[in-house]
């Protein structure tokens, strides 16, 4: 399973350095950012969680987050997969996308390919959350992640939502973050303070990771004043979750939600939302199913941005390039082949070793950057991707449904 009830490998969580949130070489964070305890949500938000049995081992599998501030501006982005899960369809059909106050989530069951019952169950989750929080149902988003094609034990889930509501707290960021994890080996979350505003965020990855925008869940809360929440979220997502791939598989359940209260009376520092989403996106790649390394491919001198992106995605999704990243093989021929495939039928001049920089594939660092110049124009694009190793096969072949 890509998106399952399997436990995050707790033993491996410590494999990730805990120095600071912004740990990727590819993320430029604004100056003067202070890191707070990620359990602490941005002012005006509370979250809670509960265990209802969708995941084993007593782990938190129901989460609830709510904005209590007077005003809220929100934006929500949903997967474009035509086999979209019930919660995606319910959000599309019912949410006031600019005025979302709360989100209810479960992990362990994607509620995808579950028919009319699945849709009714997702509606019931929203309604239960709205009732508990005294909100209109259209102010509540629902997000789910886990196995596909299995009906929800809805009574248990509804009871779990009640329990999560009773646990709501401004210090609920960590438990909410835990409530969305599936095959993640470590939680992806932060609370940051800068220029008088606070931003908290929680994300999860796993498998089925390629955009559209990425195949994952991400929630962002802030007390900053956003002029246009939708525009800010779309721009930050386009440069982060839309630029990553684990297995080239667009999920049925992707959701990104941004909520901003404006209560701090100040804007977000320039670049902060982008940096946070990019760090989270790179964490999703680094923690992709079976992943051990993150690659970044830079395509330059393309005839158009679309062409550059097509080539970058072909390279990032080539199993030959991904196994070379895993095997630390600076195999530039596979990069040339994948680029040529993306440009099939066009009379590309031979690319040649001199136009390809594959050296970092062969090095030991956890982050490797490769580049290719096409000599066809002035446009560029880049994509981050995970490697392909034995663990990916093990996770996806040995745990059968």
């Amino acid at each position: 399973m890509s998106d399952t009830t399997r436990p995050p490998a707790d033993a491996k969580r410590s494999s990730r350095p805990n120095t600071s949130f912004f740990r990727s070489r590819w993320v430029d964070a604004p100056d003067g950012v202070e890191e707070l305890d990620p359990a602490q949500l941005a002012p005006g938000f509370r979250a809670g969680g509960a265990h209802c049995g969708l995941k084993g081992g007593g782990r938190t599998d129901i989460g609830l987050i709510v904005c209590d501030a007077e005003a809220v501006a929100s934006s929500i982005l949903l997967t474009r997969n035509a086999s979209a899960a019930a919660p995606i369809r319910v959000c599309r059909d019912r949410c006031e996308r600019g005025e979302i106050r709360a989100a209810v989530v479960n992990s362990g069951n994607a509620n995808a390919e579950t028919g009319a019952k699945g849709y009714a169950d997702a509606v019931a989750m929203c309604d239960q959350a709205a009732a508990q929080l005294d909100l209109q149902p259209e102010a509540v988003a629902v997000a789910e992640t886990g196995v596909i094609g299995v009906p929800l034990p809805i009574e248990t889930v509804l009871a779990g939502i009640g329990e999560a509501a009773r646990a709501l707290s401004g210090a609920g960021g960590a438990v909410f973050s835990d409530s969305i994890l599936t095959t993640d080996r470590w939680p992806k979350r932060c609370t940051l303070r800068a220029d008088g505003v606070t931003l908290s965020a929680q994300a999860k990855g796993g498998g089925m990771i390629e955009p559209g925008f990425a195949t994952m869940l991400c929630f962002v809360q802030t007390d900053a004043a956003l002029e246009d929440a939708d525009r800010a979220l779309r721009a930050a997502t386009a440069a982060s979750f839309e630029r990553i791939t684990v297995d080239g598989q667009m999920s049925t359940n992707d959701t990104v939600l941004l909520q901003a209260t404006g209560a701090a009376g100040a804007p977000l520092p320039e670049g902060l939302l982008d940096a946070v989403l990019l760090q989270l996106a790179i964490e999703v790649v680094a923690d992709g199913e079976g992943a051990s390394r993150v690659g970044k491919v830079q395509v330059a001198e393309a005839a158009s941005v679309a062409e550059a992106e097509r080539v970058a995605r072909a390279i990032a999704n080539s199993p030959l390039v991904k196994t070379a990243l895993f095997g630390r093989d600076p195999n530039w021929g596979r990069i040339a082949q994948a680029a040529g495939m993306a440009l099939a039928g066009e009379q590309l001049e031979e690319i040649g070793a001199g136009a390809i920089d594959a050296a970092e594939l062969g090095q030991d660092a956890a982050e490797a950057e490769i580049g290719i110049r096409l000599g066809r124009g002035e446009h560029r694009a880049h994509v981050w991707f995970s490697d392909l190793g034995y663990e990916y096969v093990k996770i996806n072949a040995e745990y059968t449904t």
Copy 2:
């Protein structure tokens, strides 16, 4: 490496049943076909091989095949990869595609991304073969397969061509077939007789296998009279090598060559060329790098053939479906997800378990057929694909350049 100098695993060659050439459940061979020794070429053809050192272990790595009949009708199909190798460019630039008398091949070096020297080397190979055979250079095709980006040791190769020319024989089918193998675990070849005509064929696969038409080499010889060799080859290829994928990677070196003398004065039995190419294509999948099983996905009820094919390829190339085939997991949710990804942005009604037949994924047979009905129209398409297991990672990650 996908396409390398590594030896075929001789120890595993016997793992393939040697009952008869047409052993796939998916191939309908015409009645009354007699199998001959595959060393025996169709009348009017001779082939030979030599070892010049591109592959280790003294294995045959240079091959030559020539038609001695009065007349020859030929067709050649070449990869559309924009990073096409030198031999592809030379064939495109110089061959009289309808009048190809001979082909010279090497395995162990793809002569791809080798610049002006590579092009000159491929021309020199043609010229050397033409001189040895007393032919015009435009009557000689050149095909190469192996590592990318490494210059040919051209003097050794030219000497090898001379040696292969001295070894030419009507019984050279087996040695010619050996001369094109790279990571193949077993040779793919046949000589068949039916209705007074003979057809011999040799193919190789490995990795970088997805069409365009497939990423492989295939040579077919016959003494049958073909009304339109090009049309016959295109139709047979469209239904075989254009319908397979190992790793979704279009190669830089794909070549299919058909030569027909007409000397038998009779046409090919209906369906014979198609059956031979389909069996060879399925062998290429079965012997894909690291492959242990072959899947066939049937997409039905699509709005168009193009849509059906897009969905079939998305399913066949999904690493989640491929690991499920390897792990014998009848995971229909992954099929629904991949179909939804191929139809992203279209408001597909939920597909549901009832429209997906994934049962054979979970069974033990080496060939598994799966199906999905989209409920959007009346069109169909199918694709064959290999599984994704530990061996694929091992082959492609552990042998570094």
